[in-house]
Amino acid sequence: MKDNITSSTRNLPYWSQALLENWGRLRRNPTGRLGLILLLAFALMAAGSFIPPLVSPIYNPMHGVDPVISHTSGPSLKHWLGTDFIGRDIFSQLLAGARVAFMVGITAAFMSVVLGVAVGILAGYAGGWIDTILMRTADMIMVMPTLLVVLMAAALFGQLSIWTIVAMIALFRWPGVSRVIRAQTLSLKQRPFIEAARIAGASHVRIMTRHLLPNVLPLALLYMTFRVTSAIIIEAALAFLGFGDPTTVSWGMMLQWVWKTGHMFQAPYWLLPPGICISLLTLSFYMLARAMDEILDPRLRRQGES
């Protein structure tokens, strides 16, 4: 096991060593590898979403309409996946949807994990009433079903922009992270190296950022991967119910169009792609997360390698 760590990484701080080491394991884990490959495909789609509108304005996912086709039509050379009810290209919508999904998933997950880690470390390290207040708040937020809360906000405050939705998802998804991080912090606090740092005169902020943070980072990363899936699903569900950002083309929005304009039974070429994409993208993040979980959980790892 030790020989995985090359001499170059030996000079790096402990946590980046750990990350590199885990990255290596991740690539060798079959689930993780499959997840990574899928993810790469979707990343390519997202990157490719800029191309169709450049080819012709009729491929603009939101307001490009085909000059001839004015209703939904099946796949053709001109429209690889067909057109929607007013003659917009489904393929370019699908690509744009990939971009939105990544944007939403990763930003929301990142924000919620940052928040969760900050709260978790603070609560675990400070203890006392700070801990109580923070954890009670976390409990309170945890019982709120995120989808319904965001849905309600979307309905109440008119249409939310995609960034507001992202922020709201982040705001309601941190408690789970902070609970775990807090537990981890509590156990780390008992370790000698924290005690040593404190005796050496390190400030609280320094201990939290330099000593605690690096050690909870792998766990935070794991949680972030899980959060990406849930953020994507929440955004898609919201858009599906008609409460998404009306100015973006997301997969959930596409499904809503199929459904609301009444093409569910008539246009399988329009119904299938967005759903497959949402499911596969969440699957790929989920697989990645599970692979990471296996790697980080030493007991399972031991079993796997024995």
Partner: protein, 325 residues
């Protein structure tokens, strides 16, 4: 700390949390820009008529007064009156809730049974090709996008095959006939439940399987399993009598919580299948600016989730003596 004191403390905490949620939601609703009257008025209605309506609905009062009214009524068991239906919120919820409970309890229990059963079998074949296949299958099921799979099932089951009804909970044609028996009605409901239940089954089943499998794998490292093996007991007995009962613990927790959160997913399933449940009602209330009803549904969900959390925590203590409060 004794169990009684623990429960008492948790109840007080729950009450506080509930009150905070209630207050936040109340103000959120009343400060929001949406106009509950927007769907009641047409150009035939004059200014003074509209003002009269506002006054009658109590929307002209200062926010603080409205809040106090709301709290006062709430503790007297009056949860408000829906703008849309003109009926007490409690009555509307009481009409919709049983439908939701029926659908979700059945679906969750069935998928938990199937999931634990398969998870148990699979865990015994760890690192086998069947295990890989089933685990991947479960993963795929678990990450399926719910409304999409619901639409797909509808497309397949109701449209392509034409076997199942397209929506709702009962066939009115059957129910209006005076000679329809209870059994026929029950069968009719079951028939309507097949597609929504299949959707929920697919989604939940995968996660139960995965939980059961990993829980079984954990259990297998326990000492008593070694002891059982050392005694030379048959594998089947070890699996079913020793490992499985303990491994089901996390599934129980998960079942409890997913029942509580079912209203969340219910919003989607019920909307697609036009199932007259609480989730669909909530989406409807929210899009109609029917604040009292939306607030009522939401508070109900909060109560259910809070209670489920408490019950699961207590149950955990019972089931796993190692946990102390």
């Amino acid at each position: 700390m004794s169990l009684k004191r623990y429960i008492l403390r948790r109840l007080v905490e729950m009450a506080i949390i509930f009150w905070i949620i209630q207050t936040v939601l109340f103000f959120l609703f009343h400060l929001a820009p949406g106009d509950p009257l927007s769907r009641m008025v047409d150009p035939g209605m004059t200014h003074e008529e509209e003002m009269a309506l506002i006054e009658q609905l109590g929307l002209h009062e200062p926010l603080g007064t409205q809040y106090l009214y709301f709290l006062g009524n709430f503790f007297r068991g009056r949860f408000g009156i829906s703008f849309h239906y003109g009926q007490p919120v409690a009555r509307i919820i009481a009409q919709r809730l049983p439908n939701t409970i029926l659908l979700f309890t059945t679906a969750v229990i069935l998928s938990a049974l199937a999931g634990t059963w398969l998870g148990k079998l699979i865990s015994w074949r760890k690192e086998n090709r069947v295990d890989k296949l089933v685990t991947t299958g479960a993963l795929v099921c678990h990450t399926l996008f719910l409304p999409w799979i619901a639409m797909l099932l509808l497309w397949f089951g109701a449209f392509k095959l034409g076997w199942f009804p397209v929506n709702g909970m009962i066939s009115p044609e059957l129910w209006v006939l005076p000679r329809t028996t209870i059994l026929e009605k029950a069968v009719d409901i079951t028939w309507h439940m097949v597609l929504p239940m299949a959707t929920l089954f697919l989604i939940h089943f995968g996660s139960y399987l995965l939980i059961m499998r990993s829980s079984m794998l954990d259990t297998l490292t326990e000492d008593y399993i070694f002891t059982a093996r050392a005694k030379g007991l048959p594998e089947k007995i070890i699996r079913d009598r020793h490992a499985a009962p303990n491994a089901r613990l996390p599934v129980v927790t998960s079942v409890g919580l997913s029942l509580a959160f079912s209203i969340n997913g219910g919003a989607l399933t019920e909307t697609v299948f036009s199932w007259p449940g609480i989730g669909r009602e909530l989406v409807f209330a929210v899009s109609n600016n029917d604040y009292p009803l939306a607030l009522g549904c939401f508070l109900l969900i909060a109560v259910v989730v809070l209670t489920a959390n408490l019950v699961v925590d207590i149950l955990y203590g019972y089931l796993d003596p190692r946990i102390r409060y």
